[in-house]
């Protein structure tokens, strides 16, 4: 059987993905922080960010990707996002509001509190979604340790 060529040996794939990955990540950040003005938000941004990372991993190998995002850090990210989200809720309670009523974040100017709350909450969602998807990609790409059968 012919030895399959590695994806990174394909010139077109390598050059195009190298040019695209930074743009995809930039677009993900744009979608993340611009979600209140146009379509977008944490869910989409997380998926796009993970897609950019996975594209990098597919072309340049899992090992290279894991040097950028060690699996441990990605696993921490899954919980971190949820904690950030719930933490915003706790913060509003500490400040005397109800759980996730962002107006309490800025008592003098509730609308600013809403902006801040939405930003943080979307960031939490984005972190969780991106980390989860990258972690799933790692888990599927990992060969199981024990022999079959």
């Amino acid at each position: 059987m012919k030895q399959p060529r590695l994806l990174r040996e394909e010139v077109i794939l390598r050059v195009v993905s190298k040019a695209l990955v930074p743009l995809i990540l930039l677009f993900a950040l744009y979608v993340q922080f611009h979600g209140d003005f146009g379509p977008g938000g944490g869910f989409q941004a997380g998926v796009i960010f993970a897609a950019g990372m996975i594209l990098y991993g597919l072309i340049f190998g899992l090992a290279n990707l894991q040097r950028v995002w060690p699996p441990r850090r990605v696993e921490l990210g899954i919980g971190l996002g949820v904690m950030l989200y719930a933490g915003v809720g706790v913060a509003t309670m500490v400040r005397g509001g109800r759980f996730l009523a962002y107006g309490a974040l800025d008592p003098h100017h509730p609308v600013h509190g809403q902006h801040l709350g939405i930003l943080l909450v979307e960031l939490g969602v984005g972190i969780t979604v991106a980390s989860t998807l990258i972690a799933i990609f790692y888990a599927l790409g990992r060969v199981p340790p024990e022999p079959r059968g």
């Binding site: 146009g38 379509p39 869910f43 997380g46 998926v47 979604v129 599927l140 079959r148």
Partner: protein
């Protein structure tokens, strides 16, 4: 009368889509194929909600500054469905992980063979 019935075409298209998904899930034995069927089913449900949210002559629910009389489509189903899509991919991933585990443990992902292996084991 016929015109009034035809106004329901979106539901019927969604139902046919759902039937295709349901057929894959019930009739096919391959577990990966079943997951694909579930995906089609999921898209059909999402399409159902989104098509209900559409208002004739409306526009996307992103507010136009300084305009009071713009007609917007209903944003609420959009909110529910966009989270459902991402949750759906997480559950799809879990289903596929279980399929991969089944393959490792049994050496097959065809449902009838799995049943046979389990029957042979007693």
């Amino acid at each position: 009368m016929s015109a009034s019935i035809l106004g329901l075409w979106n539901y019927w298209a969604v139902i046919v889509l759902m039937m295709t998904g349901l057929y894959i899930v019930t009739a096919r034995d391959n577990l990966v194929k079943k997951v694909m069927g579930l995906n089609i089913f999921q898209v059909s449900v999402i399409m159902f909600y989104v098509s209900m949210a559409k208002v004739r002559g409306g526009t996307a629910p992103i507010l136009v500054e300084g305009e009071e009389t713009v007609l917007y489509s209903n944003p609420l189903p959009h909110v529910l469905m966009l989270t459902a899509i991402v949750v759906g991919v997480a559950t799809t991933a879990l289903a596929l992980a279980l399929v991969v585990r089944i393959q490792e443990a049994y050496g097959t992902v065809e449902e009838d063979e799995l049943v046979r292996i389990d029957d042979d084991d007693g």
